[in-house]
């Protein structure tokens, strides 16, 4: 009987210890990519969608895909970052629609078309908030037209802009600049030109931004 108890105890210790070890291994943040230091990203130009104080010393650039679930999960975190830290950091959104997301490119086009009427961020918010509604939708253009109506866009102009080459080129240029900067997944973040290991939450963004500000002072 005593031997049995010892056997079970040993097994329990081994199993619990192994689970503990593997959980620890899994929760460790990814080892920083050594290439990160070498990767830089193109600076923000006047044509881009930027939020926050234009004179802010810190610059956060996101390469994102409207249909990517991870980008959808980051949306509320980034909204908080721009709301709470808008005076310290300017935030730019760049398009990186992935080929496996069939509605992502149209979503990017729709957001840019809204941007033509000064409402990029309103459309950006609506698209992310309703990500699960339109992601797998076949007739997605109808839904997007409804969003355009909801935020009070001139629908005729909106439809013309969606078809424009200018927007198409802008999205392509965003994508190309991402590839050049080594983006291979979304979302990817660049703080003051350097690629970040994706922060896990608002506090990690805040710490990184404050650290960057400390360095620039």
């Amino acid at each position: 009987m005593k031997n049995k108890i010892i056997l079970w105890a040993i097994i329990a210790v081994v199993v619990i210890g192994s689970i503990f070890g593997i959980v620890k291994l899994a929760s460790k943040s990814q080892t920083p990519d050594l290439n990160n230091l070498a990767i830089t990203v193109s600076a923000i130009n006047d044509n881009e969608n930027v939020k926050g104080d234009k004179e802010a010393l810190a610059t956060l650039i996101e390469y994102s895909d409207f249909q990517c679930p991870a980008c959808g999960s980051y949306y509320p975190i980034l909204k908080k970052v721009s709301e709470e830290l808008g005076a310290k950091v300017k935030f730019a959104y760049r398009h990186f629609p992935l080929p496996q997301h069939k509605n992502a490119k149209l979503a990017a086009t729709v957001a840019e078309a809204a941007g033509k009427q000064g409402k990029f961020w309103e459309m950006h918010d609506l698209i992310f908030q309703n990500q699960s509604d339109w992601s797998e939708e076949k007739n997605v253009a109808v839904l997007f037209a409804k969003y355009a109506q909801d935020i009070g866009l001139d629908l005729a102009r909106f439809q013309t802009d969606i078809a424009s080459d200018e927007i198409k080129t802008k999205i392509e240029n965003d994508y190309k600049s991402g590839v050049k900067a080594g983006v291979n997944s979304t979302p990817s973040f660049f703080l003051n030109g350097k690629k970040m290991d994706n922060p896990r939450n608002y506090d990690e963004f805040k710490n990184s931004i404050e650290q960057a500000l400390g360095q620039s002072n």
């Binding site: 899994a26 929760s27 291979n184």
Partner: protein
């Protein structure tokens, strides 16, 4: 077919050896599933990658059932199998052997379902999920023969 069955049964050895094999495979499955579950709950939000792979699978809508990560459900399943297999080594209980033979079908069916999803719906394969499918299949096969041992002991007719 019968010859293959006999050969497999012989290879797997005595009931204790079979239970030990099941224990080892469930331990492998438990570690694999715990790693994925921990990634799901504590790691960074898995990004969407250009090259489809594990991210595509673990971020898909099929990775969660009723708000619970399927990896966590898998870990619970493997832990249960591990405990039962050790209990079989300990007690040699016939009822437990029979129960495990039935219980292991859950793992086999779940694996078939997840591999089909990966092949035909998500169209991406995740190595961790393949490891899990391999261990549940091995558990099922071994448990099947272990369940049979009750009626036809190893030395009988072989």
């Amino acid at each position: 077919m019968t010859n293959l069955k006999i050969l497999l049964n012989k290879l797997l050895g005595s009931p204790t050896k079979k239970a030990l094999t099941i224990g080892l495979f469930s331990f492998l499955g438990l570690m694999d599933a715990s790693y994925l579950a921990a990634k799901h709950y504590t790691g960074t939000i898995p990004p969407c990658a250009i090259v489809k792979g594990c991210e595509a699978v673990t971020t898909s809508q099929y990775a969660v059932v009723g708000g619970i990560s399927v990896a966590l459900l898998g870990a619970i399943y493997y832990l249960a199998v591990l405990i039962i297999s050790i209990a079989i080594i300990d007690t040699k209980s016939v009822r437990l052997k029979k129960f495990l033979a039935g219980f292991s079908i859950i793992g086999l069916l779940a694996s078939i379902w997840f591999i089909s999803l990966q092949l035909f719906v998500i169209k991406a394969l995740c190595l961790y999920c393949l490891v899990s499918a391999f261990s549940s299949t091995a558990i099922f096969l071994t448990a099947f023969f272990l369940g049979k041992d009750i009626h036809r002991p190893l030395h009988d007719g072989i």
